[in-house]
Symmetry: C2
Subunit: 216 residues, 2 copies
Amino acid sequence: MSTVIFALRPVEADGPLTVALPLVRRTRDPHEGQWALPGGWLDIRESLGSAASRTLAETTGLAPSYLEQLYAFGAVDRSPTRVVSIVYWALIRPDEIVEDGIENVGWFGAEGLPPLAFDHNEIVDYALWRLRNKVGYSRIAHGLLGDEFTLAELREVYQTILDRKLDPANFRRQVENSGTLIPTDRYRTGSHRPARLYRYNQDVELADRGPLSTPH
Amino acid sequence: MSTVIFALRPVEADGPLTVALPLVRRTRDPHEGQWALPGGWLDIRESLGSAASRTLAETTGLAPSYLEQLYAFGAVDRSPTRVVSIVYWALIRPDEIVEDGIENVGWFGAEGLPPLAFDHNEIVDYALWRLRNKVGYSRIAHGLLGDEFTLAELREVYQTILDRKLDPANFRRQVENSGTLIPTDRYRTGSHRPARLYRYNQDVELADRGPLSTPH
């Protein structure tokens, strides 16, 4: 079991928002000293989703509220012994990140990773592809935002994931037409002019979870 | 390893087109005599995709050109011993179906199945959900049609998968606007007035396969 967890955060202090993920430095062979996805072995008495949550918490201290199965990787030569890895993925908000007291964990930008252990570079690339693909047809961006957000904040999430600029007026129109957002009476105030806060409409059926939304 | 293969075919002679799948009658315990998804065990020297193709061919004689990983099912109680099943799925055209000389194989409508072995009812329901969901944002319907088809034939595929009528004029407009179809110079002739044949535009980027389109 391995897990890819994405968050939007600067990789360097004061740097731009980036799609980033936590990696764990391996303390034993194979690949001792290399960075790898957080993970561990499936216990005979636990479901796949439970194992993903447990191994993630043990290695990184992270507990995302939602984990989704990504893919089972089983190339014959991916490990010195035959290992099929069932990979989960999750999104977390920056304020959910715990970094105190966790050894051997580092955050990296998802693009331009160093060579990772096993086939983990390939796994991250696939997860990133899935994230970019899915943001176009589901409201997965939700997992990277708080309960309430401005349209500019939502647009920044999309821009960071897709790695391109989006026209603010077009973006507003598309989001408003989608029926997935509910305007609130509250506003974000600060250095800019006040911006209305929105929340997701929980009544809109998601196209992204399906009947297996409970852990399997 | 198990595989869900969908085809559109009548379940009864002269019946309506239905989303149907082949099942294999189990000849040993557990669940001897019950119907189950075609499948078998992963060999230590083969990739997941190869194992899916092999076990499918051995049990049903079917060889779809494209198999996609669906999900790994690993509930603790899904089998008397602990078994994680990595499930693939595929679509085939009716003319690709081989039925001669294959014992213990039967075709069933995907809705209203009898109780299957293990958690295979749940697996079929999930695959059906994925099919219905995916037909909305990818050109997966292609896998159920020949190289050339009329708009009425394509619409019938969508109607059967989605189990509802689609307005012909709206359907035509949406398909034409999508840029995924290329009109040919050929026509389907028969009892109705001649209908133009279309083919899929191979240049349009697919949103449905991604970087793992080769078997893993």
